[in-house]
């Protein structure tokens, strides 16, 4: 392999990062209403949210991408591979983030809810001002390890033709007939990508801890 072979891999890297960031953002945002529905006082809403989360998590990512890209793409409206991957992975991320948020909210001491009730803060204000800031800190490490997992999951987008890292590796191995090195290199790229995320999460965690530790 020579230096020119790296160029497509680097281009793939950009798509992998875009897909990971986009899907995570969708999941982090959509996870909030999903959590709210999951904790709703109305049981049909709660049941519906629980069912949605279970179903989303029960079906493998690759099948979600196929359902959206081939299924919806062929029968409802054409959709480009990147958007289909973003939709599918964003959906999966939303279900998983809702569960991460739920764990974090559950870890908040019930005295905090009681104190807020005593102060007559109201449900929304309690959540926004008291519970969410504390839960955020608890959720951060799980969210970071989920982000790393999601980054590796984006490799499935290669099956619907998104030109990310795994896809470029596949193309390159067919061109050069050096599958062993190419796939080893691609694997190494994924490992390298996960390092800054892990580092950032540790830094953020330390920063947030320091703020509370006064």
């Amino acid at each position: 392999m020579n230096a020119a072979d790296f160029v497509p891999l680097l281009r793939g890297l950009v798509w992998t990062v875009a897909l990971t960031g986009g899907a995570f953002l969708i999941g982090a945002v959509l996870g909030v209403p999903l959590l709210a529905a999951r904790q709703s006082r109305l049981w049909p809403v709660r049941f519906l949210a629980m069912t949605v989360i279970q179903i989303v998590r029960a079906i493998p990512p690759i099948l979600w991408l196929f359902i959206i890209f081939f299924g919806l793409g062929m029968s409802v409206m054409p959709i480009n591979p990147f958007n289909a991957a973003l939709m599918g992975l964003g959906l999966i991320a939303a279900a998983n983030m809702a569960e991460i948020y739920r764990g974090a909210v559950a870890s908040i001491h019930h005295g905090q809810w009681e104190a807020s009730a005593a102060l007559d803060l109201g449900r929304w204000s309690t959540f926004r001002d008291i519970v969410a800031p504390q839960a955020f800190r608890v959720a951060l490490p799980s969210a970071a390890s989920y982000l790393i997992g999601l980054m590796k999951e984006t490799a499935v987008a290669s099956t619907i033709g998104v030109a990310e890292l795994a896809y470029q590796g596949n193309q390159l191995s067919q061109l050069t007939f050096r599958g062993l090195e190419v796939f080893a290199l691609v694997g190494l790229f994924y490992v390298l990508l996960s390092l800054p995320i892990a580092w950032l999460s540790r830094v953020a965690d330390g920063y947030l801890r320091a703020k509370v530790a006064r």
Binding site: Q54, I55, R57, A58, I59, P60, P61, I62, L63, F66, I67, F70, G71, L72, G73, M74, S75, K152, E153, A155, V156, S158, T159, A166, G169, N170, S173, F177, R178, G179, L180, V182, F183, A184, V186, G187, L188, Y190, V191, S194
Partner: protein
Amino acid sequence: MFPTQDEIAAWLPDLLGGLSISLQVTALSLAIGIPFGLVLALGVLAKSRFLKGLSLFLVEVGRGAPALVLLQFIYFGLPTTGLTLGSFSAAVIALAWNTGAYTSEIIRASLQSVAHGQREAAEALGLNRFDELRYVLLPQGLRVALPALLGFSILIFQGTSLCFTIALPELVSRAYEIGSTTFRYFPALLAAGVLYAAISIPAALLVNHVERRAGLYAQR
């Protein structure tokens, strides 16, 4: 939008055949991967520098690289060294490696969760290291590891869908093939999704149940 009754009747044998392959790959990967995970866990804890380094390498690669890349590395990569594998064996090797790498962390943590006094007692009784592991550490450690191992098994079952990329005729491949011959992609893929859910959701409920029971055990 949805498959008709006739379509379901026509597709079901094919889809169930695919599901059976998915389940076979899952079972074999777990049967090889979990003992491999135990070996890796012991390797990481070993005193020998070489064993420790090798185990750490296998664990970090198995966890760090996406399962899809491991699969393609073994199926498309190894032939360049002259070793060509069928898609079924390549799938089992890649997923067993993946399983071993993840479960080694689960097993290591659970072995280390066994109370220190148990180790000392085993030593005082003069058990050798192998007997200590077999009679003292594993029975107690595996009980702690069980919920996590079961949860991971569901992920491996879903992970078999990646074998689509190496032309293994498992569930996703079959559904895709039906889609491409009949042009009824959405109903065919939906049917595959229902089959996955029919196995994953009860399995997830079972894992929840085991987790709660294990939690009760830990509280006593």
